[in-house]
Amino acid sequence: MSDGIFITEETIEGADDGPLAGRTVAVKDNISTEDVRTTCGSEMLADYVPPYDATVVERLTEAGATIVGKANMDEFGMGSTTETSAFGPTENPAAEGRVPGGSSGGSAAAVAAGEADLALGSDTGGSVRNPAAFCGVVGIKPTYGLVSRYGLVAYANSLEQIGPLAPSVDDAAELLDVIAGEDPRDATTRDEGTDSDYAAAADGDVDGLEIGVPTNLVDGADEGVVETFWSALDELEDRGATYHEVELPSVEHAVEAYYVIAMSEASSNLARFDGVRYGHRADAEGNWNEEFAETRKEGFGEEVKRRILLGTYALSAGYHDKYYKKAQDARAWVKQDFDEALEDADVLASPTMPVPPFERGESLDDPLQMYLADANTVPVNLADLPAISVPAGETDGLPVGIHFVGSAFDEETIIRAGSALA
């Protein structure tokens, strides 16, 4: 497919009836599908065919959905533009010449282009909400532990959750109802979502809703983004919501804490790719270490190597206390800040991305600039909270998303807030 939405187009039929009967779903290519290759956007797994389904895939097909393809993504979920995929970039259907965001860019583009009714992505630091905002669709990052990660190829497992993308909040909530709930195969799952009816919460009723606006996540954003954000808030006010400004001093350190933790976990998780049990294997001469190193040189792209090396560095002797331990302190601080702010507000609102969709190629040369773009979304993953990105309007014809963060396992409230807009 020329617009780069799918890595593999393959139909996986679901059950005859169920809540998602007749609906098509695109599944991010880091979510395992039995007998259908699952590449993670990497040369390393270009020919990998899992012998089992992820729990979310089982739940989709049991609910009657038809999977129509494995969606393109940044390699192993590392990137904010879907340009680090080994299989080429994805076009943004809502903004020609721009990136669809990342790392679930193929999933968001599939929904925006009408190639699938719904999609699944994964969100480690914003990877569902960022492309939802850039492509003008809805994306939900569930509370940590709401959705099973069994069969999701791990990148940074203390942060990541599988989440739905859809054209409307109602549709995204319906998909979340299907995938949420306890799973004996993932011991980090909880039972809060087991009998959920999130779709019922998408009633658009925001009368009496109290919104906290973290000023430090709004002030630094692009002017057109800020204007669009405030007009969306005006609309919520017209419908009976009220807002107040809040200070979240910890978010100034969230990005560095996020990347230290994510890269450290990545360096450990990606150690499994040695070319022996699965994945690419170099045709190299040498001992175990030499062949292992050559396999990984050939199989991994630049962003993945960068993060493995930085993570290895952050965990190495003499630096662990300086980086990793400090990042854990920052994570605890972020959690505390959010919990306090949510005592006086039902949701916190900010722009999802501080900028409109980047032009293709714009951010690749400067990794630090790309990391900074995630400033509004990463604190939520550090705090294990749920969040939703909803289209707020446009600036110069480019989509802008508004982001609502809720208390742990209070998906209903962010869904209700978002449903007033989309």
Binding site: Y52, H253, E256, V276, R281, N287, K326, A327, L368
Partner: protein
């Protein structure tokens, strides 16, 4: 700037620990980028100590034999196998 400058030797050392072979131009580029990124990470020094609430519970299950992949399925993605085992490179 960082008080731990990242030179090319350090990048090679970390790449060796991580078992990722690098070309010379990768080493040069990474050394330059890592200096910026690590200097940015050092702003974590400004983070105050926060008391962490450990609200954790062990999740246990009975240790019983359950369904699993067959040996054939477990081996089907391996580049090399022998007599039902994975075959790796020589250790030394």
């Amino acid at each position: 700037m960082s008080d731990t400058p990242v030179d090319t030797d350090k990048v090679r050392h970390v790449a060796d620990l991580a078992r990722v072979d690098l070309d010379d131009d990768d080493v040069d580029r990474f050394a330059e980028q890592f200096a910026d990124i690590l200097a940015y990470f050092e702003t974590l020094d400004e983070v105050p100590a926060v008391e962490r609430e450990a609200d954790l519970a062990n999740v246990m299950r009975p240790d019983e034999v359950r369904e699993s992949l067959s040996q054939e399925e477990a081996l089907e993605n391996a580049a090399e196998t022998e007599d039902g085992y994975f075959k790796g490179p020589n250790v030394s």
